[in-house]
Amino acid sequence: MRVLTAIWEIFTNPAFYKLTLTAATPFIFASLGGVFSEITGVVNIALEGIMLMGAFVSIVFTSVTGNPWIGLLFAILVGLGMAWLHAWASIKWRGNQIVSGTALILLAQGVTGFLMEPIFGRPGQTDIVGKIPELRIPLFMKNEFLAQSIGELSPMIYIAFGCVALAWFIIYKTRLGLRMRAVGENPEAADTLGVNVYMIRYFGVLMSGIMASLGGAFLSVGEVGNFRELMTGGRGFIALAAMILGNWNPVGAMWASLLFGFSEAFANQLQSSSVLHVASSTKPLFNMFPFIVTLIVIAGFIGKTRSPAADGVPYEK
């Protein structure tokens, strides 16, 4: 009964919806990154690493310039750089995309850890250096529930949903999008019609770099204002699962991200519930929740979605 009461309290608490959106936002960004890359046929498990770099770089440049937006800008640039490395290895050198992605994850862990001391003087985590202020929408402030749930949100949350619309538009409504979908499905056919397979794939992977680094930056300058080593904590992989569950469609990926954000927020709320009095030592068990949900979702839905036919296959003329 106590559990049911706790759950009821969570669902009626407007802050829970804000937390859900906040938790979902990195997944939305990164899963869009996954969609951009994989729809052109390049598997990108480096999302996790790119996110971590994005989180780190945005904090570094925020602390240097004092302006979190400039931090964000540099995060995008570094994300592009990471993605370019992946594209270079997978497209130009036709390397194993999963292994290359793994290398980039390690690179991000290494570089961020390595630079902590020289830049911030200590390992582990940085001080709070500043974050992007929340955006207050006066229209929502009139209703108390709305005010507490979506009245004040990070502008990056709006950007995330904007990116969903943008990705949908690019992929399904433009010439470029048509070519992306063709290249991911049958690169040879696209090539014979004069479509530059390599260029389209570079575009897809670079876009995934921008998206993933935004997702990572949201964790630091968007949400908490500091950087912690390994702060992405597997979110890049959950984003990949969201992409699969969303059937490689930006809108589907958004819904899946919201589901995963919901499960993360739910687990967090449950362990801090005043009704349940969860001992701090038991909290790790709640942290398992989003990962278990992801595992079940992947196991349950994977056969029912259709990946791009040439996904993960290097193209050789």
């Binding site: 010439r175 979908r181 499905e185 696209a190 019609l193 004069g194 479509v195």
Partner: protein, 508 residues
């Protein structure tokens, strides 16, 4: 008359092969010009150079009497050349209209104008009699329809010269007739057509002039009206060709395989085999003809344990083996030469002697307990290599390094040496040259004469009609009729392949 294409002294070298050896090809404007030759004669290589996919090592190409040098297909398209590849170059999850315009899209600003694309496709399909629904997804269309999309693609790009690479390989005789009438209409409209084929009857029917190739060289340029099939065949093969396989009649006795009301679904959960029944007796080759995609693959998979049937029974040597695993079936005397030797027949990264035991890698004499007996395996492979004349005679070479013909020999040798009671054979000579084809045909007949029951699935009508003792035609998952190949005409087989039942044909 104006020359549409001149390829002069074209040389193209691949590692180990001289694919085109000073080839000349002249195609006049408004003619249908066939390029014939066996697999590996260099036809496709020549066409890929004309289409800009490959660059000649030396030689000159002129289009409409103007010298050209293509960097890629885009340049060739710009000069009015279009190509319909043997394997369709279509994007399966896109629609007809999207496929047609891909690469030269209709746009409004940055937006892709799908409606305009559909309108243009509709116009083109009307004016050349190529009916197709512009909003249909490619994966939902039958093969003949997909080929039309390929032709519309070239016309959309303003092709004046159309190259068709083995266009009839995937079509029924009736679909082939339809294609030919489309080609004739294109010719009336002043288009030039280059028709690549090794089917001589079709070549004689459709072409104005014919260029024959053998082993990378041109061996003759002929006017259709001044030649015949025999002359072309001689130029193509380099010797007189016997068109029929010599074989003594089958000595049929006991039933080896009985299939009763078999139903099989494919990976999309669609019924592909719908209630098939037949019997194969000892020492008999039972042929199954039909256009690709009519359930033959699923039938073979169900009989060889790669796919579970939905309904019905399979009885092998009197024992119900329905739904048994590959391993159980092999242990009961089934062997299988698969249609795709790269995907199924061989583990290309394994050395030849490892490939020779695939399927029997756990049985005597190849094992000692749970360990492989490398010495015995290698001895066995050496014997097989000399028996089947596999080249090069190196049993440790990786599967991927053998030529196509020798890879197929590896598979055939392995399956035949398993002393099967039933051999299921699918497309045994696809992509092989005449020598290897003859070798495999002879081996199949020899095996039949030792009393093995053979199920032969092939899309090659000539092959299946000359090898089979009895012949069934599959259409849409059903058998249209079971006939003696000596007592039917090609036309009748063709009609059965297009969905007519044999009883209905003979009733009239």
């Amino acid at each position: 008359m104006e020359k549409a294409v001149e390829m002069i002294q074209i040389v193209k070298q691949f590692p180990g092969v001289l694919a085109n050896d000073h080839v000349d090809l002249i195609v006049l404007k408004g003619e249908i010009h066939s390029v014939v030759g066996e697999n590996g004669a260099g036809k496709t290589t020549l066409m890929n150079q004309l289409y800009g996919l490959l660059k000649p090592d030396s030689g000159e190409i002129r289009i409409f009497e103007q010298k050209v040098s293509f960097k890629g297909p885009r340049d060739a398209i710009a000069k009015g050349i279009g190509m319909v590849h043997q394997h369709f170059m279509l994007v399966n999850n896109l629609t007809v209209a999207e496929n047609v315009v891909l690469g030269s899209e209709t746009t409004r600003g940055i937006i892709f104008d799908l409606r305009e694309a559909q309108k243009r496709v509709d116009q083109l399909s009307r004016s050349y009699g190529l009916q197709v629904d512009p909003t249909a997804k490619i994966e939902d269309l039958p093969v003949g329809m997909q080929q039309r999309v390929e032709i519309i693609k070239t016309l959309y790009r303003g092709a004046e010269i159309l190259i068709l690479d083995e266009p009839t390989a995937v079509l029924t005789p009736q679909e082939t007739e339809e294609l030919f009438s489309v080609l004739k209409r294109l010719k009336e409209n002043g288009k030039t057509i280059i028709f690549i084929s090794h089917k001589l009857n079709e070549v004689m029917e459709i072409s104005d002039r014919i260029t024959v190739m053998r082993q990378g060289k041109v061996t003759g340029v002929l006017n259709k009206n001044e030649t015949d099939v025999r002359e072309i065949a001689r130029l193509m093969v380099g010797r007189e060709v016997v068109f029929t396989v010599q074989k003594p009649p089958a000595k049929s006795s006991d039933v080896v395989l009985r299939v009763e009301n078999l139903w099989v679904k494919d990976y999309r959960k669609l019924d592909m085999v719908k209630g098939i029944s037949f019997e194969i007796r000892k020492g008999e080759i039972y042929g199954i003809a039909g256009v690709a995609g009519n359930g033959q693959s699923e039938l073979v998979e169900a009989l060889t344990g790669l796919r579970k049937p939905e309904k019905g029974r399979v009885i092998l040597c009197g024992e119900d083996v329905t739904g048994k695993s590959v391993r159980e079936l092999r242990e009961k005397g089934m062997a299988h030469i698969p249609e795709d030797r790269h995907k199924y027949g061989l583990i290309l990264q394994y050395p030849a002697y490892y490939n020779m035991i695939l399927g029997r890698h756990y049985v005597q004499p190849f094992v000692k307990g749970d360990f492989l007996d490398h010495r015995k395996i290698q001895e066995f492979t050496k014997t097989i290599f000399s028996q089947f004349d596999v080249r090069p005679n190196n049993i440790k070479m990786l599967g991927m390094n053998f030529s196509g013909g020798n890879q197929q020999k590896l598979v055939v040798a392995r399956e035949m040496s398993a002393q099967p009671k039933l051999l299921v054979v699918s497309q045994p000579t696809r992509g092989l040259d005449v020598g290897a084809t003859e070798f495999i045909h002879k081996a199949l007949i020899q095996l039949r004469d030792t009393g093995v029951a053979i199920l032969l699935v092939s899309m090659e009508l000539d092959e299946i009609m000359s090898l089979s003792d009895r012949l069934a035609v599959m259409y849409s998952g059903q058998i249209m009729g079971e006939v003696d190949p000596k007592e039917v005409t090609v036309e009748e087989i063709g009609l059965m392949m297009a969905g007519h039942r044999f009883e209905d044909l003979r009733r009239v």
